[in-house]
Symmetry: C2
Subunit: 168 residues, 2 copies
């Protein structure tokens, strides 16, 4: 088993998006049982100036397709942030998984030293070597939004556990 | 720049623990300004059956030293979970960073294919190849607890942003 940028990136993000999709199935059932509208659940926040649940899932998608595109030298597919239901967010995740799966592993060859330029906030940009970008920025950020989506649902009373997050 | 299990593991976890330590400095100042006791802040939870803030930080430490130890073929240093103040949690993170830094990069040679056995809950164990363990379990879990610590503090009103989490 050889260490590769492809192996460091693709299986993990696919796995997590599939976990979130399964968690959204449980959220859908919860909404049905509790007579909660999708819209209400998708608007929950941990603090008024934090992003709500729907946006957290959209950013999971953005960070996944963004890192895969940057490391493999491609343009990420545009996905307008128009999802208004749990089913539409699941479709967004599925479409993102489809893109990630479509990239041939060989496109990641040499990605560890490819220069990646990203916005770091405050209008500033920074250059990273591919592997520093992946391990110190892209993966921490991707998992931040995945964990926050989980946290929002736990906070809203959904009965899920760490195994739902990590997958089997 | 060569891709290595050391580079995939060590700089990222050190960076995140240092970010959390700086976030805890802000939390300490917040407690002072708001006349909140450390104990009160460290007990905040997102839901009654979720771990409180102090435990989230302890698990950040546990997952960091656990993954570094497993991948480098060592025993992780024991750290009893006795921290009761923000200062003690900062010391726990510092001690964990010290351990992580103490492991020579060469100890990670071949770690991508080293067999790692972990508890996956429900009394079950599973074997992973080192790189699958790192990318599909250890890093997602480590960042889960780091993000949840951040989320708990945001939920408690602390004014921090993504740059505090990702570091500079």
């Amino acid at each position: 088993m050889t260490l590769s940028m492809y192996q460091a990136t693709v299986p993990g993000v696919i796995r997590m998006m599939n976990s979130l999709s399964a968690i959204l199935d449980k959220a859908q059932a919860y909404c049905g049982a509790k007579k909660i509208e999708d819209k209400t659940l998708l608007e929950v926040r941990l603090f008024p100036d934090m992003f709500p649940l729907a946006r957290q899932i959209q950013i999971v998608s953005d960070t996944a397709k963004g890192m895969v595109a940057r490391l493999s030298g491609q343009e990420p597919p545009g996905m307008p942030d128009t999802e208004a239901t749990i089913a539409e967010l699941k479709a967004r995740l599925a479409k993102t998984v489809e893109f990630v799966k479509s990239v041939h592993p060989s496109k990641f060859d040499g990605a560890e030293s490819r220069t990646v330029t990203i916005n770091i906030g405050g209008g500033r940009k920074a250059d990273f070597a591919g592997q520093d970008y992946l391990f110190n920025n892209a993966l921490p950020n991707f998992y931040f939004h995945a964990a926050t989506a989980y946290d929002l649902l736990r906070h809203a009373g959904l009965e899920i556990g760490k195994r739902d997050y990590l997958g089997n």
